[in-house]
């Protein structure tokens, strides 16, 4: 009869039942620990693009400037009419352009590869929560353009679409890779 001596790897450790592995030591299968680099890169680029447009709109809001490429007049599209409307001020004191600028400064920070690598649930929840809040505010702005101002700003629409894409990326990332370490 051939017997084999137990190897150190198969010898049960302290506190473990004899006869092999316990259920508590079943190894977890390995897999991706977060969104792939290309998705993180796309999110960061979107955030930077949103920041650029928001900064330009903020400049135009405070200088009464005409936004490049925007028509003026009674048609559906009239950027400057939108960004200088009463609805462009939240509670009458805070310019929406400033809120957008602050949101996108934060978005750029939270979408950097360094922030994605921070496997802290608080950061992931902050990313998800801020994108949900941003998307909610965008829905209000769309309502204000269509139902109160009666005109649409193309630059604002670019920011709205960018926010939606960031919201979608963040939501899908949280679904696939979770928000807990």
């Amino acid at each position: 009869m051939v017997t084999s001596k137990p190897s150190p790897a198969s010898r049960p450790g302290p506190g473990q039942p004899a006869g092999g592995w316990s259920a508590g030591t079943v190894p977890e299968p390995s897999g991706p620990s977060g969104p792939p680099s290309w998705l993180q890169g796309v999110a960061l680029l979107l955030a930077i693009a949103g920041l650029g447009v928001s900064a330009y709109e903020t400049y135009a809001h405070f200088n009464g400037s005409h936004l490049a490429g925007c028509p003026t007049g009674q048609g559906t599209f009239n950027c400057t009419a939108v960004i200088t409307s009463p609805q462009s001020m939240v509670f009458g004191v805070i310019p929406v352009a400033i809120l957008g600028l602050v949101f996108y400064i934060f978005a750029v920070a939270i979408m950097t590869p360094w922030a994605w690598r921070m496997r802290r649930p608080e950061v992931a929840w902050l990313r998800l929560g801020s994108m949900v809040a941003g998307m909610g505010f965008v829905m209000y702005l769309i309502y204000a353009e269509l139902y109160q101002i009666g005109q649409v700003c193309e630059y604002c629409t670019v920011v709205h679409v960018t926010t939606f894409l960031l919201f979608a990326i963040t939501a899908v990332s949280a679904a696939l890779w979770g928000v807990r370490t």
């Binding site: 137990p6 006869g19 092999g20 592995w21 259920a23 079943v26 190894p27 977890e28 299968p29 009464g64 005409h66 003026t72 007049g73 009674q74 559906t76 009239n78 400057t80 009419a81 200088t84 409307s85 009463p86 001020m89 009458g92 949900v132 998307m135 829905m139 769309i142 309502y143 269509l146 139902y147 101002i149 009666g150 005109q151 939606f164 919201f167 979608a168 939501a171 899908v172 949280a174 679904a175 696939l176 979770g178």
Partner: protein, 294 residues
């Protein structure tokens, strides 16, 4: 350990691993459904908002009555001197000076020329300052109360109109030209229908100094206001009476804009009227004269 036991243990580990993997897949599926549902809801909401939106843009606001206009004109003319002195130049921009030009006069008095349009939001801003300043030298009658275009920038800015008005003064003449009205007309240079026409002299001044934009104000051909002295953002959403009332509060953004601009215009006019009348050309205004570009 017998091989049978090892086989049993391996099988147990595999069953546990499979159960865990299934649980993770179920959890991930639930999260994906939640995320996908949220994204779908946002898209549907946006589509619904666009699909059922009203078809027409905002209509022009109704003009004020003659009685309201008289009340507002009196309020504008009654801003206390102490308020003007407290505001100084406020947040308004200054004037540019011409060089070596003969004094523009009418009826033996220095003449102020204004050219603008009723639709124009920046003209809307400048009219408040011009009316306020000139009210310190004479009396307006027949001013109108209107709003600027509801589809232009700073939509529906409340303002006065010089169309049909009259200004009388011992010290200065005023020649306003409300060149364009509210109605659209793509055939005109500014896209709005003509309301009044400038004289040949006024057209020549506009061509020489205005850079093709309105509002344009020429103060005796010695000082020019080639663009609005302040942005009309502070006037948004206000009634005419509210604007007139805010002009009396030197700390308000409206006063800093309108009264500040009016002080600068007053200082320019005072240089042409030998600082007459004294009620307009106060020591504070005369100190502003020294800051005018010359």
């Amino acid at each position: 350990m017998a091989s049978g036991q090892r086989i049993q243990a391996r099988g147990a580990r595999q069953r546990v691993a499979a159960q865990r993997a299934a649980a993770r897949r179920a959890q991930r599926t639930r999260r994906l459904l939640l995320a996908g549902g949220g994204i779908l809801i946002v898209m549907i909401l946006a589509i619904v908002l666009v699909a059922v939106r009203p078809g027409q843009p905002a209509a022009p606001a109704a003009p004020g009555t003659a009685a309201q206009a008289a009340e507002v004109a009196a309020a504008v003319a009654g801003v206390p001197a102490a308020t003007f002195d407290s505001v100084g130049a406020g947040t308004a921009t200054g004037l540019t000076a011409t060089s070596g030009q003969p004094l523009l006069t009418s009826g033996g008095k220095p003449e102020v020329v204004y050219m603008g349009g009723e639709y124009c939001p920046f003209c809307a801003a400048e009219r408040w300052a011009l009316t306020t300043a000139l009210s310190r030298f004479g009396t307006f009658t027949g001013l109108g109360l209107i709003h600027s275009s509801p589809t232009d920038v700073y939509a529906s800015t409340p303002t006065l109109s010089f169309h049909g008005s009259r200004f009388t003064s011992k010290y200065v003449s005023f020649a306003p030209v409300e060149w364009f009205g509210e109605a659209s007309d793509a055939s005109t240079p500014f896209g709005h229908a003509y309301l009044e026409q400038p004289t040949a002299q006024q057209a020549a001044l506009f061509s020489e100094y205005a850079g093709g934009s309105i509002p344009f104000v020429d103060i005796g051909n010695q000082y020019l206001i080639p663009q609005a002295q302040y942005l009309p953002s502070a006037l948004q959403g206000m009634s005419w009476s509210q604007v007139a009332a805010a002009m009396r509060d030197p700390g308000s953004p409206v006063a800093k804009d309108i009264d500040g601009a009016a002080n600068i215009i007053t200082a320019a006019v005072c240089t042409l009227t030998d600082n007459q009348p004294a009620t307009a050309c106060t020591p504070a205004v005369q100190s502003l004269e020294r800051t005018l570009a010359r």
